[in-house]
Symmetry: C2
Subunit: 288 residues, 2 copies
């Protein structure tokens, strides 16, 4: 059964342009490039077909931004920074998970909380407050016990990575479930603050999982743009764990056994899922 | 002395497009017109000179929207609705002002609170909560005692109206100060939910002030676009009371004795004024 697929809406335009303004406000675009970049993005949206999954639009928009900026990786330093910030907190959080009543549930919530690190238009995020919230939050959709059982039963797991910083919490979750056959997928090139091989190595994911590229640089998993090798793995593993809203947007409607872990970032996706913006979600979609 | 004038910034683009999305979400744009309207607005912004006061941009954008929609007044029903909502509350609020310790201060705060009725991107406003807040709020910039004295000393007052709904609170304020020579300025044609002659008559402002057009339909007072008759009055009255952020944006830097009453709607203006978004402001600028 193929479920409905989420498509872009007009508010995605506001959000996308807001994410460019965030880039400006963070000082990541040199002053003399701002006008050119903004105009190029507005021109792109003025001609756009809106009936596409949002990450497909995000991919093209960020290609335009990088070209206008003449910079292939505007978020490079920001990604490094947030990996380091979360690595600094890791030992303390590892201790908390180890001594928790239910280490699986705490590590799962921290993995979702890590998703707060984002560079969309709502750029003001508070990592510490979100980590604290993770300890007591109840996901608005909670298939976590099904996920626990699926992991126990699975011979192979494919974990779809999302953002820098957040990936440190993915490491903590993977350490906690301690499964012997996990593939961790990254983007094949920099796109916003999404994880690439470099991030996976920096935070030590390569020590506990087989890191693979999905062959694409959309800020979400758009299956038709990924590599044949990735798709083969995607089709053959027992369980897929998908992190973040971008991966959810790309894979909504997909016919596979997927557990989506995300923090809901906008009203459009909130309404699609029947939850509220800011909610934690652990949602199983099993298309088979 | 001419003070700094506020100009548009990149976040004004996000905000403007957000206000168009609000128009969509409120069902004010027929489905088949949405794409054309959005594309026309994006095209306009992709070619725009950003070094202009925001209301000048708002004026052109809304001309484009109206043309794409083939509708000269998309907000007509919304304006009528909010005038009626506030008229229904008027008798009760008149009673509260009459029995208040300081009727002037309460009516002033209610006039600012009325400014919450807005159709920008942050469209979720709660009129009752804001009216309640008005009773106890302290303006972040508070030249209200200077305003009280200026009104007592003035022979003539020019009051620059802002939005429908809000205009009912302007009536309450004008009833409270009970000054014999007030001119109340409206736009010369519909623009967003800004007040025109029709609104002034509907809420009875014409019974307590001389209603005049400013000769322009920018959603803010851009002096150079107003009529010579309006400018003559603007230059000759003793005190000008300017309502709302749009009028402030257009008149910032102007060399006249103006009291700006507004609720701050965005971070850009908040930062210009050194206050926070949502703050109430009573600010005197005396250029002479």
């Amino acid at each position: 059964m193929v479920k409905d697929r989420i498509e872009a809406t007009y508010s995605c335009v506001t959000c996308a342009i807001g994410s460019l303004v965030t880039l400006f406000e963070k000082g990541l675009v040199p002053g003399e490039k701002k006008d050119t970049t903004m105009r190029a993005v507005l021109k792109y949206f003025s001609d756009l077909d809106y009936n596409q999954p949002p990450p497909k639009i995000g991919k093209e928009m960020h290609h335009i931004i990088r070209e206008a900026m003449e910079n292939p990786d505007p978020y490079k330093d920001v990604k490094y920074h947030y990996n380091q910030v979360l690595l600094d907190q890791l030992p303390q959080l590892q201790g908390k998970v180890k001594t928790a009543d239910d280490p699986f549930q705490l590590a799962l919530r921290l993995a979702i909380a890590g998703n707060i690190i984002d560079f969309g238009p709502n750029q003001k995020f508070d990592i510490s407050a979100t980590m604290e919230k993770a300890k007591s939050v109840s996901p608005a959709i909670d298939d976590s016990e099904a996920l626990r059982n699926a992991i126990l039963d699975a011979e192979t797991i494919l974990y779809l990575g999302d953002n820098a910083g957040e990936i440190v919490m993915d490491r903590l979750f993977l350490e906690t479930i301690n499964h012997p056959h996990v593939y961790f997928a990254v983007r094949n090139a920099p796109i916003i603050n999404d994880v690439t091989f470099e991030d996976a190595h920096m935070v030590g994911i390569d020590k506990i999982a087989t890191v693979i590229s999905n062959g694409d640089d959309a800020p979400g998993t758009i299956l038709e743009s990924t590599s044949p090798e990735f798709r083969e793995l995607f089709d053959s593993v027992d369980v897929i764990i998908s992190k973040g809203q971008g991966n959810f947007e790309g894979l909504s409607g997909c016919s596979r056994n997927i557990y989506f872990l995300l923090m809901v970032k906008c009203d459009h996706v909130a309404s699609f899922l029947g939850v509220k913006k800011g909610d934690f979600v652990v949602k199983n979609v099993n298309g088979n």
